[in-house]
Symmetry: C2
Subunit: 432 residues, 2 copies
């Protein structure tokens, strides 16, 4: 490489792949240490994933829920950033392949997260986009808003009904949040703006294969979430799976009988799999592609390679439970590895500890001013849960500017039912 | 068409094509009258064009400079909105073609504006995008930010120099604003975030074919704009034209000698032509495709068809000067036609007036806290002009929310040199 502009600190090279919660927490724990850290990501921004559905539902702009990685780590002198796609690891040569070059490392931390999984039905991806990136969110926003626009111009009653039918596949937090928000757009944000169609008649169907929503939550919160969605006007279909998705809608199956729902806007919130780079490590992965790690979160046979965040498959030895794929799991595992590497660089003889996940609870919103939350063994629902959710999420937003703007946009949404980010960008026509 | 949800007011059908300054001003003048107005646009949003360069240079989010047309006209009971591409007019049948349907009209107002013109070099479009739509701005933002990212990773000195060279073609207001803003990004906003390249060394070249920048301004302001740009570090090349643009840079010509500048980011701000729908009217157009209109802004032979805004070719009979392609020209001509139609609907015998353009002056910014402005015969430059520019543009921004957010984002930019919207979205690689 050409000479650096500034004198780089010396010390072992730590390469972190992924600028999400886990990667940033790891990087933060290594700031100011005697290491040379490189953050690799294929996006130039950290994404505050829990609020991405707000971009998809036109309540916020991408810049309110994402911040350039360079801006976050810019002050940390021992950290540099590389924009590129990491595709494979050679643990024996100790190199990481990024696009067409090899990055040598002394320590490697994979924090690549998860991507959509369509359970072998790759053709569904085109008709039912998932929600993981800013571009995903903009695409979903485009489809939702265009559905109302085309319905307004459509003379055919059947076609118009399909335009005004939205199907969300998967009853986890993302599915619950999306279904509630779409119904609110149709019922509260935009009816006045459409002169020919009554957007309040829009149908929102939420499909869940299991017998309750939010399977990771206590059953009473699952039921409360269902009740809240139903009272908003969302059709919640439990024990119902999608058997086919095409350009015109969804075929679903419930108790052995098949049904067809015509819809022009289907959203996938049902399945995730770990990013495939984990396979190149040559160690055991679970069925979702998560890499099985040791108690110190390193991989078997390579104590200098770690996997953290959603990409990691790890059962807490204290509870026997897997670490859930939530922000706290990512942050705690990322920080754990960052601190471990920092200690080891100071003292190579240091004994490695065992990672324990500290459960801080979980929360999900259901439309405006409603949410469900669990903190420890206590459960909350309705407005108190929503107020907690708002505080926690605003506090988390990275950077003062994002925090301030988010509060203002939310205040606007709450007071005026207004959705300021209602812009359709990208190709105008969904189907040419 | 299917029965409308609400009882539509009766009265003549007015179809307005284009939701820019001219179309909206026309629509506003017709609100609450005994007309049935349909606003047709291929975008769902009105765009505050004078601030679009701020999106392209990562200072603002699209939602801060654009507002959904439905939101603006939603309260006006006699106005409906149709999202679609108007492609042709049949003035004898009195129908407008929008996608695959015909809209009948009693009055038609074309306010379609301008698009980029590459003077017959259509292959340049791919390598030198222009700035007219939100998608254009996001594409330019992506290219500017990616240039720094790839330079940071590049080991080849020559290639890195090309990555850090930006060429803006055209020295009108957009070119001046873009060149100043790019130099500021490189010199002020991001140097700290890059560890290997010195972004302050980035080269910004502004090409202008004429002998001064801002040809529509008084010569002393043109010279001041040039001095301000040069003091920022922009290379201003007058009497210089681009003779070729390809993926690797620009070939230019000055005083008979040819020169090559290697650049991976070229921005087109040099030429515009009227949207081609005007040609379908079958009347005279000028070399830029503007439709020649009568003194009442109707077209010859069809007193119920009007052309307003940038798409209109009209010399004010008082001064003999053409109406300039600025926001004021669009707003005044749109309002004039809206009021004319409203009067004629009330009294079909009313005598039509002659349109006169009222020159309110013009202003352009050159980076942070510098601008040039002319109001009547008075000229202003430097901070006073910039303060005026800021006030005028904030006041113009449509909707309270945009106004407030814009002020906050600008305050952030001014105080912290921070660019909050520094997100690269869309396809990751410029060239596959």
């Amino acid at each position: 490489m050409t000479p650096a502009r500034q004198n780089q600190p010396a010390g072992p090279r730590v390469v972190i792949v992924g600028g999400g919660f886990a990667g940033l927490a790891c990087c933060r724990a290594l700031r100011g240490t005697d290491t040379r850290v490189t953050m690799v990501d294929r996006q130039n921004h950290h994404l505050f994933q829990p609020l991405l559905y707000q971009v998809a539902t036109a309540a916020m702009s991408p810049a309110n829920v994402a911040a350039p990685i360079r801006k976050i780590v810019g002050r940390w002198k021992n950290v540099s950033v590389a924009l590129g796609e990491a595709t494979a690891v050679d643990p024996n040569a100790r190199t990481l392949r990024v696009d067409d070059r090899d990055f040598p490392y002394d320590f490697l931390v994979l924090a690549c997260g998860m991507t959509h999984a369509y359970f072998g039905h790759d053709s569904w991806a085109e008709h039912a986009p998932g929600l993981k990136t800013v571009d995903d969110a903009l695409e979903i926003r485009r489809r939702i808003l265009l559905a109302f626009e085309t319905a307004e111009l459509n003379d055919d009653e059947e076609a118009r009904k399909a335009e005004l039918t939205f199907v969300v596949v998967g009853g986890g937090p993302t599915g619950v949040e999306m279904a509630g928000a779409i119904k609110e757009i149709a019922a509260e944000s935009i009816p006045r703006d459409f002169k020919r169609v009554d957007t309040r008649s829009a149908r929102v169907v939420l499909l869940e294969g299991g017998d309750r929503l939010l399977a990771a939550y206590p059953p009473n919160l699952s039921e409360r979430a269902r009740e809240d969605l139903v009272s908003l006007g969302v059709e919640v279909r439990l024990e119902t799976i999608a058997t086919d998705i095409d350009a015109d809608g969804v075929t679903l199956e419930h108790a052995g009988t098949s049904e067809r729902i015509n819809s022009r806007c289907v959203i996938w919130a049902a399945g995730l799999k770990a990013e495939p780079i984990g396979v190149s490590l040559g160690v055991e992965t679970d069925p979702s592609g998560r890499v099985r790690v040791n108690h110190d979160l390193s991989i078997p046979g390579h104590p200098n390679v770690f996997v953290v965040g959603d990409q990691m498959g790890y059962d807490d030895p204290e509870t026997g439970d897997p670490v859930p794929g939530v922000a706290q799991g990512a942050i705690q595992s990322g920080r754990f590895v960052g601190e471990l590497i920092a200690r080891q660089v100071r003292d190579s003889e240091t004994r490695r500890r065992t990672f324990h996940y500290r459960d801080k609870g979980m929360m999900a919103t259901i439309g405006r001013a409603r949410a469900v939350a669990r903190i420890g063994k206590m459960t909350f629902a309705g407005f108190p849960a929503w107020a907690m959710w708002s505080l926690v999420h605003i506090a988390f937003l990275i950077g003062f500017r994002n925090r301030l703007l988010a509060m203002i946009e939310w205040a606007g949404l709450y007071v005026f039912w207004s959705r300021g980010a209602r812009l359709i960008t990208g190709p105008r026509r969904r189907r040419p």
